[in-house]
């Protein structure tokens, strides 16, 4: 598959995922209505709460992510190469130059953050600067800038918000059910309680219990899709697949773990910064559902095909 076809395919698939996500919210809303009679107003309230909870984080996403990972502004003289490469890539992509930061950490990794290209920041670890050569570093920086260019912070914030809506709805419904639920619906249910209604109620209940988990799996799927997209977009910037390819190979062969990263910021990094236990069989498959990044081997293979 050529470069531009891969870019469109990845964009289309991530928007399909978001659409499925919205459908999940609707279904959970219906289930909440069915089981405890919370009605559409509950969905609206859940959306408002989730948006309010995430909005602040979105607005200050760069400052928060940089502070959490102890990133320091990169000195233009000491890190001349880093500044030069980023400037070049920004010219290639028609982007303003982002803030550039360095994290003192031996594990090679990098991340980008910021709500739009005008408020973007990019951070790399000292381990990455030491281990990669010029073209490899350029490939990684192009991947990070692609996250900025593709508005991935917005996309992942959207995904987090939808997870929030689903979780709030499921949580509130189950609590209502526990405490007996609103009275008026109980009366109606008592009058019309037949076999099918009972089955629906049980189905709704199962759905409410499973929904938050399903939402997390979908969030991870969105994140993986955006990673694959950033890889191909990076190549569209550098026009040189071997750079990123060999950088990913070096990341694969390295087993150091970033100290200042947590699961909360995992989706931002070029390689998943969280240590993975070597698990096999069914367990590995289950773990993969929650991974924020496609396996490095898969990403390397996709770049080889370009």
């Amino acid at each position: 598959m050529d470069l531009y076809r891969q870019i469109t395919a990845n964009k289309r698939r991530s928007w399909l995922l978001i659409a499925a996500f919205v459908a999940l919210v609707v279904v959970v809303g219906l289930a909440a209505d069915l089981v405890v009679g919370l009605g559409p107003i509950a969905v609206v309230i859940a959306v408002v709460i989730a948006v309010a909870g995430v909005a602040g984080a979105y607005w200050r996403s760069d400052a928060i992510a940089l502070a959490v990972s102890h990133a320091q502004p990169a000195d233009p003289v000491a890190h001349a190469r880093l500044h030069n490469l980023v400037e070049g890539l920004c010219i290639a992509g028609g982007l303003p130059k982002p803030g550039i930061y360095v994290i003192d950490d031996p594990a090679p990794n990098a991340f980008a953050t910021g709500r739009d290209p005008k408020h973007a920041s990019l951070a790399v670890t000292t381990g990455l600067l030491e281990r990669l050569n010029r073209v490899e570093l350029e490939g990684v920086l192009a991947h990070e800038l692609s996250h900025v260019k593709n508005y991935d912070i917005l996309v992942s914030t959207l995904a987090v918000t939808l997870v929030g809506v689903v979780t709030i709805l499921a949580d509130v419904s189950l609590r209502f059910l526990w405490w007996g639920g609103p009275r008026h619906r109980d009366d109606r249910a008592r009058h019309s309680a037949g076999g099918p209604a009972m089955v629906m109620a049980v189905l709704g209940l199962v759905l409410l219990v499973l929904a938050p988990l399903v939402a997390r799996v979908m969030q991870a799927a969105v994140s993986r899709r955006r990673e694959a997209l950033a890889d191909v977009s990076a190549v569209a910037l550098t026009r040189y697949p071997p750079g990123l390819l060999s950088a990913l190979e070096k990341l694969r062969d390295d087993t150091t773990v970033v100290h200042s990263a947590s699961r909360a910021t995992a989706h931002l990094w070029i390689e998943s910064p969280v240590a993975r236990l070597e698990s096999e069989g069914r367990q590995a498959w289950l773990n993969r559902l929650f991974d924020t990044h496609p396996p490095l081997e898969e990403r390397i293979q996709a770049l080889r095909e370009l």
Partner: protein, 183 residues
């Protein structure tokens, strides 16, 4: 009455769409201008770095006069070049002359270890990267603009308002092939 309102609404809607399409064309055209100017900015930056480089190298390898003169001559020729084809040729001369200067450093360990030289080398490498990225962005911008003025519905406005196709920057065969370094 209803019919008139619908008609009026449709006319207004089409008008708004036309304005949006026209503005997007202007934006793309300006982006091409900006991209072209960016190439010049980066080329200028490279001219400005060359005298510094020559001064630094002279301190360690003064008798390599020929190589140093060649890079100065190439730089001045590029500054005086007129027309895109001429300019491109002159820029290629600068690039290969610079490569020979950097090749010199292999023979002079003191020069190679000089902090100022290392910094200049990084600056020039960075600037050359930016020059080629600026050209790439220029071509990408031309591609988007040309596609837009050839496709529906913008093709209508483009024809009516005399938007003309733009030309790509094409690297000539000399710069496409591998650079030969002579000693």
């Amino acid at each position: 009455m209803t019919f008139l309102l619908i008609l009026l609404g449709t006319v207004v809607l089409i008008g708004v769409l036309l304005v949006f399409q026209y503005n997007s064309l202007i934006k793309l055209r300006n982006r091409i201008e900006g991209a072209w100017a960016q190439i010049d900015v980066q080329l200028k930056r490279r001219y400005d770095l060359i005298p510094n480089l020559v001064e630094t190298v002279k301190g360690y390898a003064a008798h390599e006069k020929e190589t140093l003169d060649a890079v100065i001559r190439a730089r001045n020729a590029a500054g005086a070049a007129s027309g895109p084809a001429d300019q491109a040729q002159a820029e290629n001369m600068v690039t290969s002359a610079l490569r020979q200067v950097f090749a010199l450093s292999e023979a002079y360990p003191d020069l190679k270890a000089n902090q100022g030289f290392v910094q200049l080398q990084e600056e020039i490498a960075g600037t050359e990267g930016r020059i080629s990225y600026a050209r790439q962005f220029y071509n990408d911008s031309v591609l988007r603009y040309n596609t837009k003025i050839q496709t529906f519905p913008t093709v209508i406005i483009a024809n009516a308002m005399q938007f003309r196709e733009r030309e790509y920057f094409e690297a000539d065969d000399a710069s496409r092939g591998p650079v030969q370094v002579q000693f």
